[in-house]
């Protein structure tokens, strides 16, 4: 590994993170200066560490190898989460580092799982920082860096590929920098639009911004203990429902719409499947919960919000779905595993992977029956090569492995199976709430420090889709090459 280059890049990313804390500092200052010092100290520390790395490590060879791109992404997310945890420590919001780290990882990975059972007592700066990490982590810290720091080298595409979710990554424009800028531009405009609409629906500016950030990143942190349910505002719920689905959609569609492709842009297999699954799940859960809520309209209201929230891997809640009939609860857990679209801000296994696995299974069965028939697998009208199919299978295997491992390790804390399984699935898919002891009205605060670190790891693994973190355990990576 080219240590100088990797450390230099990490330094630059820390400097970017220092910049990312600035808005929270301003919010804290506007909030009567509460916690402003915590942010000031954190910014200074991140900036100092970043500059030291940049100054001390000047790479001679400036081009990344593919695996170094993965290493940078893996290390960056772990490191930036540590520095991002500082405001929680300095402000006293979290008493222990593992709590602060869990909260920050949960933020950056857009999980939205929290260790705080009460959040309304915190200053606005801290609340804003929590939600802002969602926004940055949703689209990606490295993609943001590519957009604002163009001189990261010709092979910076490795960084973007390692960070963006899904089996394949498609450039929208020839240059990575332009692609990153277009992505962030679409993202920012949609976030601002939602903020404005939420204000129209009656939410105050700060609450609207917090929930828009949480929805955009498909994160799920709220500034209210009862999440979106606290407002009991149907208009806001509908807005958030629609936008959760929209942010869980592959962003290539928005780019195509911008290019003026019109209705053609919507002919996207993955997106159609995503919405189809969503609608079917809403219908089924509405039927199943009508008795629980007493009337179909209320059931539809909560079912649609909750399905959008779980599928897009956001994790907001309007109602305690842990009290739903068993069938709906299990269905939600399955939706957790599926997750959102590739190329969106959501997590999970991703709809396109599920589709590819389904198609492979279908081909296998067809092949057994009619061995002479040649069948290929296509997605979006394009042939899918064996390499991609293979990596999808491997992804699934790794996902299941960590799901089982996490369930086992979480049970060390003596929680029931529903809790440990749903908490693990929720962390891996970056959702937030689970069932039972981690249900929407509960928090992760009661777990032991070790399990909290484990969940932090699972969230990072899920967000980065395993490989960038797992390569760190390959000994060849750490051998000095330059």
């Amino acid at each position: 590994m080219n240590y100088a280059l990797v450390l230099n890049l990490l330094g630059r990313l820390l400097a970017v993170e220092a910049g990312l804390m600035m808005p929270s500092l301003f919010v804290a200052l506007a909030d009567g200066g509460r916690d402003a010092l915590a942010f000031a100290y954190s910014i200074i520390l991140a900036l100092a560490a970043g500059l030291l790395l940049i100054l001390f490590f000047r790479p001679r060879e400036r081009e990344l190898h593919a695996y170094e791109g993965l290493v940078v992404v893996g290390l960056a997310w772990a490191l930036l989460s540590a520095f991002g945890a500082l405001p929680f420590m300095f402000s006293g919001a979290a008493g222990y580092f593992w709590d602060a780290y869990f909260e920050t990882v949960s933020g950056f990975t857009t999980t939205g799982a929290t260790i705080f059972s009460q959040v309304e007592q915190f200053g606005k700066g801290i609340l804003f920082w929590r939600s802002f990490t969602h926004w940055v982590g949703g689209m990606g810290i490295l993609i943001l860096t590519l957009a604002v720091m163009p001189k990261l080298g010709a092979r910076s595409a490795f960084l973007a590929r390692a960070e963006s979710p899904g089996p394949t990554f498609s450039r929208m424009l020839p240059r990575m920098r332009d692609t990153a800028r277009v992505l962030y531009a679409i993202y920012a405009v949609m976030t601002l639009l939602l903020t404005g609409l939420l204000m129209l629906s009656g939410l105050p500016l700060f609450d609207a911004a917090i929930h828009a950030l949480g929805t955009a990143g498909t994160g799920g942190f709220s500034n209210r203990n009862l999440s979106v349910g606290a407002y009991n505002n149907v208009a806001a719920e509908i807005l958030i429902t629609v936008f959760m689905f929209l942010f869980g959609t592959n962003f290539i569609v928005y780019f195509r719409l911008l290019k003026g492709e019109g209705i053609k842009a919507l002919r996207h297999e993955e997106i159609r499947t995503y919405y189809l699954i969503g609608l079917v799940a809403i219908a089924v859960i509405t039927l199943n919960t009508t008795a629980h809520y007493g009337d179909a309209a209320t059931a539809l209201r909560h079912a649609s919000f909750q399905v959008a929230s779980i599928m897009s891997t956001t994790g907001f809640s309007t109602s305690d779905f842990d009290l739903w009939p068993q069938f709906s609860r299990i269905l939600l857990v399955l939706l957790m595993l599926i997750g959102a679209c590739a190329g969106s801000t959501g997590g999970g296994i991703k709809v396109s992977r599920i589709m590819l696995m389904g198609k492979s299974a279908g081909r296998e069965i067809g092949h057994t029956v009619r061995p002479r028939h040649v069948k290929t697998i296509k997605l979006e009208g394009r042939l899918v090569d064996a390499e991609t199919l293979h990596s999808v299978m491997v992804f699934f295997i790794i996902y299941v492995f960590f799901l089982l491992l996490g369930t086992l390790l979480a049970s060390l804390d003596g929680v029931n199976f529903t809790t440990s399984f749903s908490a693990t699935a929720s962390c891996l898919s970056n959702i937030g709430p689970g069932l039972s002891l981690v249900g929407p009205m509960e928090s992760y605060g009661h777990f032991s420090p070790g399990v909290k670190y484990m969940f932090s790891g699972l969230m990072l693994l899920g967000r980065l889709e395993f490989i960038p973190l797992l390569v760190l355990f390959h000994p060849a990576v750490w051998r000095r090459a330059h």
């Binding site: 590929r161 020839p174 240059r175 920098r177």
Partner: protein, 456 residues
């Protein structure tokens, strides 16, 4: 600029990487999944799988906003069609690589009817470069500027020159004995240096000198080099390049013999080149080379399909005292080693192709105003560049003494051509409208004179 390259072969990849380095937007269209997988993400460019002739693929590559389309697939016919389709779909400029000599004669027709703006025949271009090198048998390479009035020749400082240990100032003081050429760039230990007056030459330095043809010849004569031009040449390998080269050399009444191993090809060559001496045999066979009078030839050029054969045969010829040896070598990374071992003239079709295309791209960059670079040469495998500009009437630096202007560090105003006269400028000189200027820079990506010379 937005540039689409069709065909991700050797040349396509090389072009893409250089164009990306020059900050252009680049999209690459390639049919083979295998090639795509290997190359994807190595460059900051968009890769599109598909056939470059297909309208759908080209539309996916946003052809309507393409400034230049470069067709470099293996097939001449595909390249032609790519250009036609691309132009019809709105591309502004189309370059095609066409190698078959058959099409050579109908070049004008193709350009007009298929809307191709620039046709590149790499083999013929390479043959022309080799023929230029043969004009200065003591030099490693030659480039011409200003319509042939100015030449840049590189050579290696050796003991008998008497140049080693002299500073450039000292060389300039020898005016009486030494015709005045400008030392514009030096390669030492793999580093490119734009030298100042107190720079001291060392044995083994590769020196690039610039002046007009007569002065350069006189300069090398004064250094005691054998400047008699090459009278006879032996070519190993009857390739297309050999054919083009032999044709050029035969026109200058040179004696040319070609060694070809394949009887069928040898007969064809005899047909096409009746004045050349075609020998059937293996060019790597030393006995055969001796028998056919290798030592009597002034030049030995190895053009077979295998780089290793070319290099080894080249070494053998050089050992046996052939004055000028040129080897074709596509492995660019071997070149420094070859130079260390005494083979200064290594050429490659890939290099020539990408250099020529890049030059075309560069001259089309921006608004193609009068201050745009006219010609561009890459020196020392791209570590430095020589650029030729025309000084326009509106150029803000006109009439100001060079010493009073800001000149980019590591850049050198090498030559001014005024009224057909070649002139090596000093601090007191000025640029005037209508001048042609040749500038040497150590950085790549300069498009305008204003990038290099400005008012303070």
């Amino acid at each position: 600029m937005y540039i689409i390259i069709v065909g991700d072969g050797k040349v396509g990849h090389e072009l893409a990487s250089r164009l990306v380095a020059e900050e252009h937007e680049v999209a690459i269209v390639e049919r083979s999944e295998l090639v795509l997988q290997r190359n994807q993400d190595m460059l900051d460019a968009m890769y599109i799988k598909g056939n470059g002739v297909s309208v759908e693929t080209l539309r996916e590559a946003a052809i309507q906003r393409a400034d230049i389309v470069i067709a470099v697939t293996v097939s001449d016919e595909v390249n032609m069609l790519v250009c036609l389709t691309a132009k019809r779909l709105g591309a502004r400029y189309a370059i095609a690589r066409i190698r078959d000599p058959e099409y050579n004669r109908s070049q004008r027709f193709l350009m007009e009817e298929l809307l191709i703006d620039y046709i590149l025949n790499p083999e013929r271009t390479l043959a022309m470069e080799i023929s230029r090198i043969l004009r200065y048998p003591f030099a490693g390479g030659v480039e011409t500027f200003a319509g042939g009035q100015v030449e840049m020749v590189d050579f290696r400082v050796a003991k008998p020159d008497g140049l080693a240990g002299m500073s450039l100032k000292a060389i300039a003081r020898h005016k009486k004995h030494l015709p005045q050429v400008l030392v514009s760039a030096v390669e030492r230990d793999g580093e490119a240096i734009i030298p100042k007056g107190d720079f001291v030459l060392r044995e083994g330095d590769r020196v690039f000198v610039v002046s007009d043809t007569a002065t350069i010849t006189a300069f090398f004569k004064a250094l005691g080099k054998n400047t008699i031009s090459v009278q006879s040449a032996m070519i190993m390998g009857g390739s297309r390049i050999a054919f083009y080269l032999a044709r050029i050399l035969l026109e200058t009444r040179m004696a040319v013999s070609i060694i070809e191993i394949d009887p069928e090809k040898a007969r064809e060559m005899t047909d096409m080149l009746p004045e050349a001496n075609i020998i059937l045999g293996d060019g790597t066979d030393h006995e055969l080379l001796m028998e056919e009078g290798l030592k009597k030839n002034d030049a030995f050029i190895t053009l077979s399909g295998r780089d290793e054969d070319n290099i080894m045969a080249g070494f053998y010829a050089a050992r046996n005292g052939v004055r000028k040896v040129v080897v074709k070598n596509n492995h660019e990374n071997y070149n420094p080693i070859l130079r260390l071992m005494g083979l200064d003239s290594a050429v490659s079709a890939k290099q020539v192709t990408s250099n020529t295309i890049l030059r075309t791209v560069r001259t089309r960059s921006g608004a193609a105003g009068p201050n745009q670079v006219q010609r561009l040469y890459r020196l020392m495998d791209g570590k430095a560049e020589a650029l030729e500009f025309n000084v326009g009437q509106t150029e803000p630096v006109i009439g100001i003494k060079l010493k009073d202007l800001w000149i980019k560090p590591d850049a050198l105003v090498a030559v001014i051509v005024r009224n057909g006269k070649v002139h090596i400028p000093f601090g007191e000189d000025t640029l005037e409208s209508g001048d042609r200027v040749i500038v040497i820079v150590r950085e790549s990506g300069m498009n305008e004179l204003g990038d290099i010379i400005r008012r303070h």
